[in-house]
Symmetry: C2
Subunit: 232 residues, 2 copies
DNA sequence: GTCAAGGATTGATAAATGTCAATCAAGGAA
DNA sequence: TTCCTTGATTGACATTTATCAATCCTTGAC
């Protein structure tokens, strides 16, 4: 792949401060692929041969056990995913599948580790990324262990609203079946949870959500930056 | 603190490969403290001023929200904790409290970050530690989302047995109230779960657990390295 | 030894959540 | 357009888990 093909990669926090030559070397070994929707990119337990960078489209990260499946996260452009497995040279803990058509850069894990060893700026960026990812998963664990499914939904909606710039109405980023799995509940339970939140001014129309009275919903949801602020 | 006082710190993966001079500088700013049981070491939301290294005793890491509390992890010697907050220079996401008398080294976070910038070997070790911690939390999330409380207990017992060297009987490392919280259930539910596992050869006598037929318990628990192997 | 305190267990009951089945609604293909 | 597929919703019911209260048991202080 030509190093200057995708300036948005270079602009990512992870690559922004790399030495120019290093970045070029890394990109020379990388390649871009286009995938249709519903394609398995990664399976749990496989060796982590590539660091993935999502340029376009949506990807879901999920895990399975004993015939059950749960959605752990979704990624939107431009983000890397499964960095920890790449760094540890350990098997993937999650599977990844495209939700839409997607354009993805694949960087050989070996090259990433080599660049890490050679470029202090890159090393710093990787650590920042990992520490942030770590904290993000811890927040998610607190969400799961300390809150009921109704409380999780309420706080999820407040987070999404924030992401949408604080507007009173916004679209869910994917279907409700996936949202239910992400929040650790069944679609039926989610459907009933939405109905319960009507009492706090939440209205839905398909995938569109309107929050009538944010303060009222917050009184119920009790959002907390140490759980719900997914940026620090 | 005198740098050579505690060779077990130097032996930790995190510090093992540091340059000698760097390690000494780091230790000069550090100090050791002894704490009685049940002492709050860290509160959620506080700035992360120190990286902690547990030399002796047991420490619990927990989180609270809306009057509820949940145990997220316990640490045993010799381990560091809350590395991610130190690296990010962000507030603690968990609180920490001694469970027993404990001896702890406190290293100013600023010094850790300086050492990280100056010593590539230390940087590598930090990344390895973070990536491992990250993966460990992901495994825990899978455990929580994919398994019932009974299945979580069964797999927990198999992990503890493994840690005890595979012996058929071993002691729980702390009381059942804490174990229940760690597994995300109430003490009453845990008590009943232990009773249910009698059908699979699990016997308890206070804090002592005996696994009569490991293969039988495994048939029920279906342990999976991508969830239960907490070392890779 | 006795006693007090806290954890563990048990029983009864309630609440939360999941399952199954049926129906409904929306969107894409022809 | 019409049909068909898939996701969403609803109702009835089962299961899991929590709550509350009582009792039991262990352990440590005296």
């Amino acid at each position: 792949m030509r190093p200057d093909d995708f300036p948005e990669i270079r602009a990512l926090p992870l690559f922004r401060d790399m030495e120019e030559e290093r970045f070029h070397a890394l990109m020379r070994g990388a390649y871009v692929q286009n995938f249709p929707p519903q394609v398995d990119l990664i399976r749990e337990g496989e060796p982590s041969d590539f660091l993935h960078v999502l340029l376009d489209g949506l990807v879901e990260l999920f895990a399975t056990w004993n015939g059950r499946e749960t959605l752990l996260a979704t990624t939107r452009p431009v983000t890397t995913f499964i960095l920890a497995a790449t760094i540890r040279d350990a098997p993937y803990l999650m599977a990844a599948r495209t939700m839409t058509r997607a354009r993805i850069v694949l960087i050989p894990s070996e090259d990433v580790r080599a660049a890490f060893d050679a470029d202090p700026a890159f090393a710093r960026a990787i650590v920042a990324d990992l520490a942030q990812g770590y904290r993000s998963v811890v927040k998610n664990t607190k969400d799961m262990k300390l809150r009921s499914s109704l409380e999780r939904l309420a706080n999820y909606l407040l987070r999404e609203q924030r992401r949408a710039g604080g507007a009173p109405a916004f679209d869910l980023p994917f279907d409700k079946r996936r949202l239910a799995s992400l929040l650790g509940m069944t679609p039926e339970n989610l459907s009933r949870a939405f109905k319960s939140l009507q009492a706090y001014g939440v209205a839905t129309d398909g995938g569109r959500v309107a929050i009538g009275d944010q303060a009222d919903l917050e009184r119920f949801a009790k959002p907390n930056p140490l759980i719900d602020d997914r940026t620090t």
